[in-house]
């Protein structure tokens, strides 16, 4: 059995290898085949402050260039990489013009390493730091197809182009449901920069890193690009309704939605008798929220009777809070076998008890991730113990005692019977 499994795995691996070997050819042959390959855009700050010489004794710009060279060498084959700059062109003092200064340096697509490196080499620290517009531009560059997308933002200062809050921009980009994650790296960041970058990262489920050395920078960017290349299941966007009757019907799978503070969202799942519903939900805290929070997932019948619930509460710093539930629907009692048993509609209600300080915007809602699986029902248990079997010294003692007593009684009985028989 095990050998067969190994063989099967081997065959699988071979197939995968073959497909991988064939993939680039087919990808270039027809566009749509490459649809699923991940996209990454590196967004580099080329503002005037990048001249500061405080990373390993070199300027921030040269550290970034060196890191870029190393990263470009190591980009996995399947990743489509693009580069965008901000503050690279306009050296003047006009804020309006400075805040539009972002441009695509290298288009998102199959990477030509020499070309990309040459483009990076031309950069010189120049202008403003329009992070918000750069993020919008990067999101446009990445397009809206089904591929996983990642923006890696490298900057050394906060956005200088208020009122467009880059953090809000990031949240709105994420709310478009295009599977986009923004990772941020701060070069020798100050408190304000750090706050802004963590906020951007948090809003999209990305990470924030502070960088003080060149090797840190290149290692981290490489890691982030590699992460983009990891295949993941992309969830399907859905929109839950305010009540069960209007709720979308979900089949087993992975879904995303948005839910505002204190909002309830309903979904429907069809479940046949003898099947088990498994559902779990994660609510992401994508902005600054108050310290205590919770999530509740309820399975309810169409008539409003609660079947089972999963709930979780927490406090302090967190990325998500999640819970799940199982609902095994018993086999139909009247086993006619003639007509197919009717599926029950199970309503799933997702609610959360997050709250936020008044300064935090409540729209768009927080991202929620919902998984729905339907499996066969569990084998029913007639006893707590496995097959009703016993265990332990008390069991042995009881059995021995019972056996001994039974033997004694039987012995006495048979002696008595022999005695009775002899007297007659």
């Amino acid at each position: 059995m095990i050998t067969r499994k190994r063989l099967a795995t081997g065959v699988c691996a071979l197939l995968v290898a073959l497909t991988a070997a064939l993939l680039p050819a087919s990808a270039s042959a027809d566009g749509p085949a490459a649809k699923e390959s991940p996209k990454v855009e590196l967004v580099l700050d080329v503002s005037g402050s990048m001249r500061a010489k405080d990373i390993d004794g070199k300027s921030r710009m040269s550290a970034a260039k060196q890191a870029f060279n190393e990263v470009l060498d190591a980009v996995p084959e399947e990743v489509r990489l693009g580069i965008r700059t901000l503050g690279a062109d306009y050296p003047g003092n006009d804020r309006k013009r400075g805040c539009k200064d972002t441009r695509q340096l290298y288009p998102v697509g199959p990477l030509d390493r020499t070309e990309a490196k040459a483009a990076v080499a031309t950069l010189a620290p120049t202008g403003w730091t329009p992070i918000g517009p750069a993020l919008l531009g990067a999101a446009d560059d990445l397009g809206e197809d089904g591929a996983t997308k990642r923006i890696v933002l490298i900057t050394d200062g906060e956005d200088t182009c208020a009122p467009l809050d880059p953090c809000q921009v990031a949240r709105e980009i994420a709310a478009k449901g295009i599977h986009l994650v923004i990772d941020t790296l701060g070069l020798v960041p100050d408190a304000k920069t750090r706050q802004q970058l963590t906020c951007i990262a948090e809003a999209t489920g990305g990470t924030y890193t502070s960088v003080h050395r060149t090797d840190e920078l290149s290692r981290r960017v490489r890691q982030l690009v590699d992460r983009a290349a990891d295949p993941v299941v992309t969830p399907v966007a859905t929109e839950g309704a305010g009540r069960c009757a209007d709720a979308p019907r979900l089949t087993p799978g992975l879904y995303t939605d948005r839910e505002a503070f204190g909002e309830h969202r309903w979904y429907k799942v069809d479940l046949l008798p003898g099947q088990e519903l498994r559902a779990s939900v994660s609510v992401s805290a994508d902005r600054a929220v108050n310290d205590d929070y919770g999530v509740l997932l309820r399975a309810v019948t169409r008539h409003g009777r609660e079947i089972v619930r999963g709930s979780e509460a927490g406090d302090g710093r967190t990325d998500v809070i999640s819970t799940g539930l199982r609902y095994p629907k018993p086999e139909a009692q009247d086993a006619d076998g003639d007509d197919k048993p009717a599926a029950e509609t199970v309503c799933l209600q997702v609610s959360n008890s997050f709250s936020a300080p008044p300064a935090v915007k409540t729209t768009p809602g927080m991202p929620i991730e919902l998984t729905v699986d339907v499996v066969d029902g569990p084998a029913s248990a007639s006893d707590v113990a496995s097959f009703g079997l016993g265990r332990g010294w008390w069991l042995l003692g009881a059995l021995v005692l019972a056996g001994f007593l039974a033997g004694l009684i039987w012995g006495w009985l048979s002696r008595w019977r022999v005695a009775v028989w002899r007297t007659h």
Partner: protein, 275 residues
């Protein structure tokens, strides 16, 4: 009398045999220690439930990340096992840090329900000077089944989340490394419950058509992909079978002994031999 003595000896021998056998019945189950290089765990961690890096008990998963990141791993645990999650965090250089930091490891089951730790320091605060930090979480023993309203651990995937929960704001984003491993101790039949899940609690598990489809296409199903090294156990075997069978044998022997006691030694002298 001789029979009784023999019986007693047999019972003792049986008990002596059973004694070590009972806890040791499944003693070969604890995962063999990592041997070759290919047995080493993943060197990257995931950042969400969906991207969690998979490793098996006995392997060591490592990762380098920035403080503030949420790192996710996933490992399989099967019926009768009690997993112990251990995490070691190598903190950023203390010269760069501004104060104490609190780290935390959480374990979630395949349905993303948080699992409590029976023992172990799940959360710890590292002083500013500390170089590393160790966290541990001993889960409850995994049962074959539980009712739908219970949060009991069931066979399936388990997620480990490691993160810093409290630190000075200016310490965010510094690089640290983490090592995570899982030891599994076998709890034998003490927690063997009746009933069994149709499929372990693995995200994406399904026993309906997609699974058959995957089989036809020679793909691995989610359940197989998440399985421990030697596959999911059926949950039907436990050392309760041994105990119960041994109990039956002992009872039978005791019965014979009891019967013999009422007869005395050998043939009763008053009964003449049949001629």
């Amino acid at each position: 009398m001789r029979t009784v003595r023999m019986l007693a000896a047999a019972a003792l021998a049986g008990a002596a045999l059973l004694g070590p056998a009972a806890p040791g019945a499944l003693a070969d189950a604890p995962t063999p220690s990592a041997t070759a290089g290919e047995d080493a765990g993943p060197t990257e961690a995931g950042t969400t439930f969906r991207t969690a890096a998979a490793f098996r008990p006995g392997q060591e998963a490592t990762a380098q990340a920035a403080t503030g990141d949420y790192l996710y791993w996933v490992f399989p645990a099967d019926t009768g096992e009690r997993p112990t999650v251990k995490a070691t965090v190598t903190l950023p250089e203390s010269a760069l840090r501004h104060g104490p930091a609190t780290w935390r490891v959480d374990v979630y089951d395949g349905l993303r329900r948080r699992q409590p730790c029976m023992y172990g320091a799940q959360s710890r605060t590292a002083a500013k000077e500390a170089a590393s930090l160790e966290l541990a979480c001993v889960l409850r023993p995994v049962r074959a089944s539980a009712d739908a309203w219970a949060n009991d651990p069931l066979p399936g995937s388990y997620y480990v989340r490691l993160t810093v929960t409290g630190l000075p704001e200016e310490d965010l984003g510094q690089s640290f490394s983490a090592r995570v491993g899982v030891d599994v101790s076998d709890k034998g039949g003490a927690y063997a419950t009746d009933g069994a899940l149709a499929a372990p609690l693995v995200p994406g598990a399904t026993t309906a058509e997609p699974a058959e489809q995957a089989e036809e296409e020679d793909r691995r199903t989610a359940v197989e992909a998440a399985a421990p090294e030697d596959g999911w156990s059926s949950g039907r075997w436990s050392d309760r079978w041994l105990w119960t069978a041994a109990g039956g044998v002992l009872a039978a022997l005791a019965g014979i002994g009891g019967h013999a006691l009422t007869r005395g030694a050998g043939r009763p002298p008053r009964v003449p031999p049949a001629t």
